[in-house]
């Protein structure tokens, strides 16, 4: 085909989001048209979900992007890519790519996820080699110097957690990657596991070296079948290549790992509930202390870290903790993979230094709503995160900045709503979700959330006095819950009530106001 002259490789993401938008049919149509001299690769996603399925063609070392491509457009695309209406130019020059600082996600979408040689050619294993050469204390020092804080939600300093496990005396220690990613509006863990799985494996191996742990587990939610498949294959390949096993890269150090699949419980993302689940028990939250760092899986010292936290470690060890810490603001150092979702024009994964304001993220990067209507509210940090009105759009993206506005950044999910949203309904949903997912241990969470749904219904039926009841109920949940499921559900509920009180009026008055 003349249009393909000089093309050596074509990429069609195998990422689950791309697949949900028809990438498999696009890849099949391309495979049927091209000859054996062109390599077709199912890469991970670049994160530009709004352009998926995003096809890339490599010519003279430059990757040209086309998207979103529909299966019926494949023939015309291959016949004349240059002047095709879906041509976007070189992928690295698209604004969305140019404006990012890709450290954790540097290889994601670039390489064949399961091509180990390509992983290494793109900087893979550099962090692990440095870690092996420098020894345990030096690894702990680098991770501490990087300022890396847990990306799972709580923002706890990773260096301190690792040091606690490293100092614990025990014959067995564990590294557990929290891949439960239950927060709605988030998909960074999924994208890195599907698109660059060896990075997570390398990060876990480094964590093992730093702490003396020799066994790892990835607790991966069952809702991610593609990630499960890719991670299982990657573990086997890593073992064949000596990255896992009794003698990591010939160093004499041992580390191995296994993939475990969750069973559909949101609360199992909470670290102690996760450990119970991994042990084969009900996923009930454990009281702390003891800390999992001292008595975790099977009662032994355990690092539990989010996937993104662990996947960031290889680049910290490769380039140095200080280099990483040069990005960001205040105590929020390094980069954060923002997941821009919901009713947004340009949605996807965008990795950037901490510090961009919420308004820039939503209006500039996200391009406003997909519906074209005004942005009314943004939920940041998953189902337990607060709703932000436009008035708070000057908040910089950082841990302390968000907590000072009675919010949280959580796993960095950003869900945009237009002006058709009913915030009373969203508050009700937050309570409903808490009731469905409660582990049942604390009364304020288990019973309180059910009362919360009823109370919001009463308010919206015209019982204004019930507003005070709802406030009291939220105070009780905040004070009397063992974990953040019951403890933080008041964030979305109270922020909705505080910033959007008009949506809690009885239906008749709400209509009259419009």
């Amino acid at each position: 085909m003349a249009g393909l002259d000089g093309v050596t490789r074509i990429f069609v993401p195998g990422d689950m989001a791309a697949r949900s938008l028809g990438a498999d049919a696009v890849a099949e149509a391309i495979a049927a048209e091209i000859g054996p001299d062109i390599r077709l690769t199912r890469n991970g996603t670049r994160g530009m979900i709004f352009l998926e399925p995003l096809v890339e063609m490599e010519r003279d070392g430059i990757r040209h992007a086309y998207g979103p491509v529909e299966p019926h457009e494949v023939a015309s695309l291959l016949a004349d890519p240059e002047s095709h209406p879906k041509a976007l130019g070189p992928v690295d020059e698209i604004d969305w790519m140019r404006l990012q600082t890709r450290l954790t996600f540097a290889r994601c979408g670039v390489i064949d996820p399961l091509d180990f040689a390509e992983y290494e050619a793109h900087g893979g294993l550099k962090g692990l080699r440095n870690a092996l050469a420098s020894g345990r204390q030096a690894i702990l020092d680098e991770v501490t110097a990087s300022g890396l804080r847990g990306r799972g939600g709580a923002g706890f300093p990773t260096g301190i957690k690792w040091t606690t496990v490293a100092r614990a005396e025990a014959p067995w220690k564990y590294i557990v990657a929290n891949a439960d990613e239950g927060d709605s509006g988030t998909f960074a863990d999924r994208i890195v596991m599907e698109g660059d799985p060896f990075t997570l494996i390398e990060g876990m191996a480094i964590a093992g070296l730093a702490t003396g742990a020799t066994q790892g587990y990835v607790y991966l939610r069952s809702e991610y079948p593609d990630a499960i498949r890719v991670m299982e294959a990657a573990v086997a390949i890593a073992r064949e290549n000596g990255v896992l096993g009794p003698d990591i890269l010939g160093s004499g150090e041992a580390f191995d790992m296994e993939i475990r699949v969750g069973a559909g419980a949101y609360v199992c993302g909470e670290e102690t509930s996760l450990l119970n689940s991994l042990e084969g028990k009900r996923g009930v939250v454990r009281a702390k202390p003891p800390l999992p760092a001292l008595e975790g899986f099977m009662g032994r010292p355990t690092v539990v870290n989010n996937v993104v936290s662990l996947a960031t470690v290889p680049c910290i060890l490769a380039e140095g903790g200080k280099t990483y810490a040069a990005h960001g603001i205040g105590k929020s150092l390094g980069t954060i993979p923002l997941q821009i979702a919901g009713n947004v024009r340009f949605g996807g994964l965008f990795e950037i230094a901490f510090g961009m304001t919420l308004g820039e993220i939503v209006d500039k990067i996200g391009g406003g709503t997909a519906s074209g209507r005004p942005v009314r509210a943004v939920q940041v940090g998953g189902p337990l995160g607060a709703y932000f009105p436009r008035a708070l759009f000057d908040t910089p993206f950082g841990y302390e900045d968000f907590s000072s506005k009675s919010g949280l950044i959580g796993h960095a999910g950003i869900v945009v709503f237009d002006d058709s949203v009913d915030m009373g309904e969203m508050a009700r949903f937050a309570m409903e979700f808490c009731a469905i997912e409660s582990c049942g241990k604390c009364t304020p969470c288990r019973i309180g959330a059910v009362r919360g749904v009823e109370t919001i219904d009463r308010i919206r039926a015209g019982d204004a006095a019930a507003k005070e009841l709802l406030t009291d109920l939220c105070d009780t949940m905040t004070a009397g819950s063992l974990c953040a499921l019951g403890g933080f559900t008041p964030y979305p509920v109270m922020s909705a009530l505080r910033h959007f009180p008009e949506d809690f009026q009885p239906a008749s008055q709400r209509e009259a106001a419009e």
Partner: protein
């Protein structure tokens, strides 16, 4: 799927438990394999699982009942899971929820009388920039509206 006999179940459990022997915390992987084999976790499997792991039958029961993924009754030949979470709601998810319930004549966690389809809610599929989303068995589907989901479920046999 016809109901397996007690001895079929016991035999399958013995095989599956042997495969997981020596693993730390094997109960969830065993339950997942049992469910993959029978489509649900038969009542008759609980005692043999308990015996294989040297725990009480009540404990196995407790674990099965805790997790949304485990089912003690057979489900439909196809499982349709529709995301109910916030990012999908922001993109019109409620209309998709209504549409699929109407198209199938089912409420959540119900199965059509002919055993063709089970409808389940799911709380986020990690596809939140291109919703509303659903999965049909293992196949993800994005940018849905009420008509498209109705069309997709109508194709299921």
């Amino acid at each position: 799927m016809t109901t397996p006999t007690g001895s079929e179940v016991a035999e399958a459990v013995a095989q599956i438990a042997a495969m997981h022997a020596g693993r730390e915390g094997p109960l969830l992987p065993i339950l997942q394999d049992v469910q993959a084999r029978f489509g649900h976790i038969p009542e008759a499997s609980m005692q043999p699982i308990a015996e294989a792991l040297n725990i009480g039958r009540a404990e196995v029961h407790g674990v099965v009942s805790f997790y949304h993924d485990f089912h003690t009754e057979p489900r439909g030949r196809h499982v349709v899971r529709v995301c109910r979470s916030e990012a999908c709601q922001a993109r019109g998810g409620r209309a998709v929820e209504e549409g699929v319930r109407e198209a199938l004549g089912l409420d959540w966690n119900e199965t059509t009388a002919d055993g063709r389809v089970t409808l389940e809610p799911v709380y986020c599929l990690g596809l939140c920039a291109s919703g509303p989303n659903a999965t049909i068995d293992d196949r993800p589907a994005g940018r849905l509206d009420a008509d498209r989901i109705a069309g997709l479920v109508a194709e299921l046999r």
